[in-house]
Assembly symmetry: C2
Homo-oligomer: 328 residues x 2
């Protein structure tokens, strides 16, 4: 119970991963502040914490507000730094906003910690997107970095600021490079957070799931509870300081196979192969799955929830709660 | 004479490398616009172009001014994008400014090109600083990226924006990773641009050159005319599009040996070994010299000016023109 009675701040705390993390921390008796901008195009949704609303403090503000962030970070034991602009396409059409959130705001957060709370421990949510098109599979942390979109470049800068502040100033920080994460609470209105969101919505609405290309692209996936488990382990250990860890799964699936796995969970489930939209093709990374040996060896993390189980739970959640996530 | 009658814009155009490049382009009959903010702490100095002042257009503005930049970039054939915050220490004490200049402004420049001048060819001045402490020597372009300071992270983001806009939008761009560049026109008031600047000043003032540590750290150096030669070749060729090239030299020297080489050029030259200041030690990269085979093979570049010759020219320049570079 590392986090019992500890003060914890989560940026992106009303989002998909942030709200699931909050739930786990509530169970450990942490004192939790959730920071979220609730921008409609992003992942925040107050309904994500409907069951723990009275056991957390919600502070609506943007990580781009350096004054609010400097105040909120004071005295906290842990920062789970999950807020981000996650849409690859939006990062190309509006690169400045992506830069402001994923790089500039991160640097301001770290400067605030350096000036007024250097004892804080920070876990930063990074992304496998910054590896670009893999040279080899599975991709380990030594794989060259080669972002294919503005989002990848800015997330990498954000990640490196964290490692640098660990290395130079001793502000304990580490980064997890998340792969496709899915589960209850993910954005399902559209594909801005994960394509699986819109797939689940289509399935529940009885519409065909749209699979780009030939559907043979390989991906790995983590159910959100497994991702939360990794965040908690990384925060609890000083072994993680200054380190980058891949998340991942041993269950690697082609997208068409994934769609087929989902069909049985919906009503009249169907899918169709459609050509890549050109703006997506330009930033597509081909096959990807990660080697997550390092976090297994150093922090003891392995994913526990199978795709079949995780998808079933996810679809069931949205079947029950869909009115809080999208309107027809 | 690739650049004859071509329109060329140089950011950082009143700085050290920018002004030397301008001189070479004037000789080829280019129509040149020099953009410089003339911020006193940076490298711009109108005296750097005193001999070509009537053959170039000077526009004083900051690359952080997206409106001015968008206007100035219209219709230009070439952009040599050299403006940058170069001080590693300043990037740690004021990281936001480094980010604004080295990343945010670069993205705005590329967006302006995308919207109104996608036919432009861009050469971006990057830095070997982003390799961090080398894993092996000489360092080639495949060496892992591992910035050790805020400046390295932001320069890398700036570099990658250029490559991304080349790869995604076809805006022809390449990057040169400069090593220690020296020569007439470099900032000699202090060490913000290069330690060799302050060394030359100390030598001319008859004060001891201060060498950090044991003076055994290896470095490679390019005389500014060689650096300019590389920029011109990179701009003239479409082979360079989307590429990163190291600059470097076959003449690799320890810093103490370099100091000894300089002594004969001053009056009563002396040097002293002093311990690393802690803020410099924290971001020091140890030995560095580069493998520049790639640019030799692809663009035909090799450095031509020896250290002995380049240093002699440099010291002679500042002995004659010192009143325009520092006041006692």
């Amino acid at each position: 119970m590392t986090y019992s009675n500890k003060t914890v701040i989560i940026t992106g705390g009303l989002g998909f991963v942030g709200s699931s993390l909050a739930r786990a921390l509530v169970a450990q008796g942490a004192k939790i502040t959730l920071v979220d901008s609730l921008i409609p195009q992003y992942g925040g949704n107050l309904y994500n914490i409907h069951d723990i609303r009275d056991r957390v403090t919600v502070n609506v503000c943007d990580v781009r507000d350096p004054f609010a962030m400097a105040y909120l970070l004071q005295g906290k034991d842990y920062l789970f730094n999950l807020a981000g602009q996650t849409s690859h396409l939006d990062s190309m059409s509006d690169p400045q906003t992506d830069l402001d959130i994923n790089a500039t705001a991160q640097l301001a957060i770290l400067e605030a910690c350096r000036k007024s709370n250097p004892g804080i421990k920070i876990v930063f949510a990074s992304t496998r997107q910054l590896y670009g098109k893999p040279d080899y599979l599975p991709v380990d942390e030594k794989h060259p970095i080669r972002p294919v979109d503005v989002n990848g470049i800015n997330k990498l800068a954000g990640e490196w600021y964290h490692l640098l502040y660990n290395n130079i100033y001793g502000i304990r920080a580490c980064a997890l490079r998340l792969t496709n994460t899915y589960g209850p609470g993910m954005r399902v209105k559209d594909a801005r957070q994960t394509f699986l969101g819109i797939w689940v919505r289509m399935l529940i609405e009885g519409k065909p799931i749209k699979v780009f290309g030939d559907g043979m692209q390989l991906r790995d996936f983590n159910y959100v509870d497994d991702c939360v488990g990794a965040l908690l382990l990384a925060g609890a250990s000083d072994t993680s300081n200054g380190k980058v860890y891949n998340l991942g799964s041993t269950e690697v699936l082609g997208l068409k196979a994934l769609a087929e796995m989902m069909l049985g969970l919906g009503r009249n489930g169907t899918y169709e192969l459609i050509p890549f939209p050109p703006e997506r093709k330009a930033i597509d990374i081909g096959d990807y799955y990660s080697d997550f040996t390092l976090i297994t060896d150093e922090l003891g993390w392995t994913p526990k929830v199978s795709m079949a189980e995780g998808l079933a739970r996810t679809v069931a959640y949205y079947q029950e709660h869909q009115s809080h996530y999208w309107q027809d």
